[in-house]
Symmetry: C2
Subunit: 438 residues, 2 copies
């Protein structure tokens, strides 16, 4: 594992040793059988698993929103695995429950809630967190929904930007609200929700007799990295008495940067509560325990036991301090700016203005096409081919996707602390090397 880590940071190693699924299935024996395998085989399996894994720590791996490998974080994760417990009562995870308490309080202070008041819980990712937010909003307005279900309440409608994460719709489908009751608000050219459109759609919904209960603003959209105008949205929510949620899965950490936190101004204008998910199962949350039961956090969650996610974040925070995270965030944004400036006037690139650097590379054969329809058709195919070639060579990885009427474009997000200016230069060279013949 140590060799793998060292290798991962080495730019001369491949980001991925890519094989198609059927091929990979055949390159090793992955089957489970009745009889135990030998220790040798177990070690071979471990080596094969690492050999064909993506090197997410690699300085040139830019494919996902979260990349990079933090050594203290890794040590913390190993310790978490060693402790081998899960979160739901103080009894089974005393330290981890306290650390979650300490960390959540600190996070609420950073958000700007008075004295860190409020409540919270770590959940298994942003999608489930967004679902929690909808649950809370619905419960606040109609607490009877918990017992009586959606048939006891009027038709609810939720609002979110057309650029928001798909988990808002997924949540609405799951919660019995229905995806048709999620109204997508127009975003401007930079991907920010347009407040006037939000208010117009709220009024329209009310006129139809629907009940607006939830607005999900996004602080860092998935594709453009756009920050919705939280203050204006909070004003509208206050005026119409609607719960405001901010999905900060991608951009929330900017709160730790004194330089960039203004992008989240207004985030402090929302809240949390507990009684929504409580079931008070007597076999778990015995009321006659010897300690303060407010530390038995399990009943706040949709889950029963929860994976211990807190220690990794807590230990990294201890090791870096808030200023360490700030420096890391500022550096990532500086690299984005560097990339932006580098390709802004470079021949063969087109780019709108975004936080995530989104851009098209136009190979010479496409660049000068006059037929616009043909040009877009050809351009749409460029990013997938370059990406596939990147993976074949294993040199770097970056995301691409279409958005609305825009054909496939690269989306470059920089969250890897190991990335440098040179890695950005490399990416550009690599795109041109792999795409010039297209």
């Amino acid at each position: 594992m140590l060799a793998y880590i060292v290798e991962s940071f080495d730019r001369s190693t491949k980001v991925i040793d890519f094989h198609y699924p059927n091929e990979l299935l055949q390159r090793n024996n992955w089957e489970l059988s009745d009889e135990p395998e030998t220790l040798d085989d177990i070690l071979i399996s471990c080596r094969a698993t690492l050999k064909y894994a993506i090197k997410t720590a690699h300085p040139r791996y830019f494919n996902q929103l979260s990349t990079g490998l933090d050594m203290v974080g890794l040590a913390a994760d190993w310790l978490t695995s060693t402790a081998n417990t899960n979160m739901f009562t103080y009894e089974v995870a005393p330290v981890f429950v306290l650390l979650e308490y300490v960390t959540l309080k600190k996070m609420r202070e950073i958000i700007g809630w008075q004295d860190g008041h409020g409540d919270g819980i770590f959940s298994p990712g942003g999608a489930i967190s967004n679902m929690y937010a909808m649950l809370l909003a619905r419960y606040k307005m109609f607490p009877e929904v918990k017992e009586k279900g959606m048939s006891s309440v009027p038709r609810l409608v939720a609002f979110t930007s057309e650029h928001s994460h798909f988990s808002i719709k997924k949540g609405a489908a799951a919660l019995g609200i229905g995806t048709e009751s999620v109204i997508c608000i127009k975003a401007d050219e930079r991907g920010k929700m347009i407040p006037s459109d939000l208010e117009r759609r709220i009024v329209e919904a009310k006129q139809k007799g629907y009940v607006p209960f939830f607005v999900s603003a996004t602080a860092g959209t998935t594709v453009y990295g756009a920050f919705d105008p939280l203050m204006a949205i909070a004003d509208i929510c206050k005026k119409h008495d609607i719960w405001m949620h901010v999905d900060g899965a991608w951009g929330g950490s900017l709160l730790m940067s004194r330089k960039h936190r203004w992008k989240l101004n207004g985030v402090e204008r929302s809240g949390l509560m507990q009684s929504c998910n409580q079931m008070q199962a007597c076999y778990l949350f015995q009321q006659d325990k010897q300690y303060d039961l407010s530390y038995d956090t399990g009943d706040k969650a949709l889950q029963c036991g929860r994976h211990v996610d807190i220690f990794k974040l807590w230990l990294m925070w201890r090791a870096k301090g808030t200023i360490g995270f700030e420096a890391q965030i500022d550096k990532c944004l500086e690299l984005s700016e560097y990339l932006y400036n580098k390709i802004k006037d470079r021949e063969g690139y087109e780019m709108p203005q975004h936080t995530n650097v989104c851009f098209w590379y136009l190979p010479p054969g496409v660049r000068y096409l006059e037929d616009k329809v043909e040009k877009m058709k050809r351009l749409h195919k460029v990013a997938p081919v370059i990406k596939a070639r990147m993976m074949e060579y294993g040199t770097t990885m970056v995301s691409y996707q279409p958005q609305g009427d825009k054909v496939n474009f690269f989306r470059m997000v920089i969250s890897n602390p190991a990335a440098t200016f040179e890695d950005i230069d490399f990416l550009i060279e690599e795109i041109e090397r792999l795409g010039q013949d297209l």
Copy 2:
């Protein structure tokens, strides 16, 4: 960490070095600050975290359904942390996605579905899995619910035993079905759902104009460890055309034991599907990728990225083989039987017949009380005090809870591979030592 592991298996070490929350908060500096801490402090923090953690590997830790520490499992978890990716597309987790595919197929074969057909996904625990099951059942009967929400469908009702896990109600609350639409079916003295009561309540619900859509049977209830009669329940579900779900979070692994798998006969009579949760977010699940997209499992899940849980199970399975799990399961059940036989006729104990060994210890001062109301009142307080004392001494830990009209009783579940007959003997002695004066 290695010292901690070795210590955890040593019976002379405490299971827990217990402190009350406020005390524990003061015993170490757990605060997060702006400035980084030194490496020394980080190491101190790690040591303190392990010092006050529960030793879940300890052979005398019986507190939770899941206990014990498997060395191969731990190694696998360390490797998972090192790989530091998550699950949603083949692109970001090629090996792990394949291993999930291989493992789920194997599990479906063991369940008994024809040729391992069907679908599945690893989810963050049993509670979320139960919620998935309700989602699937509802979607199968009323696919329009995804777009139109619960207001487009008649009043749905779900059925589950009064001894089932609280996550069924939690799920119903979240999904907009409402807890009042979960009808609790009577269980017999051993904790098994009574099929005739199920059918009676289904007919009754239909007469009221409700639509029964979901029956959740339990294979291993939380408190008694009871197995609902799956065959009889499957017959009723088939007759009334209702989706049958089996919650096997606790007892499902018995399928790997040739001796005990009969308890789950009938589990093969249910199914899974995919389109329920799909949203086809184009920025994640690009249709123009170069590989077979059926390996991009992310869109089946409520989550976006998922924690990589598969490798731990897969590697343990490789190392033990199915027969290794079987031996482990058989041994745990043998220890339960040993405990049962040991206290069956022992003075001062009362016990109904269950898979989980549930029992009362009656201290001499309670044992001979003639006033039955007073006796139950006193007995109700015995288990909490013994448990609190166990934690103070740190010698062992076991669960207790009331159930229905039964006062607090111990629930002994044995899943720790390190436990032996001597540890069972120790538990009895310890209960008597700590409780005789009550």
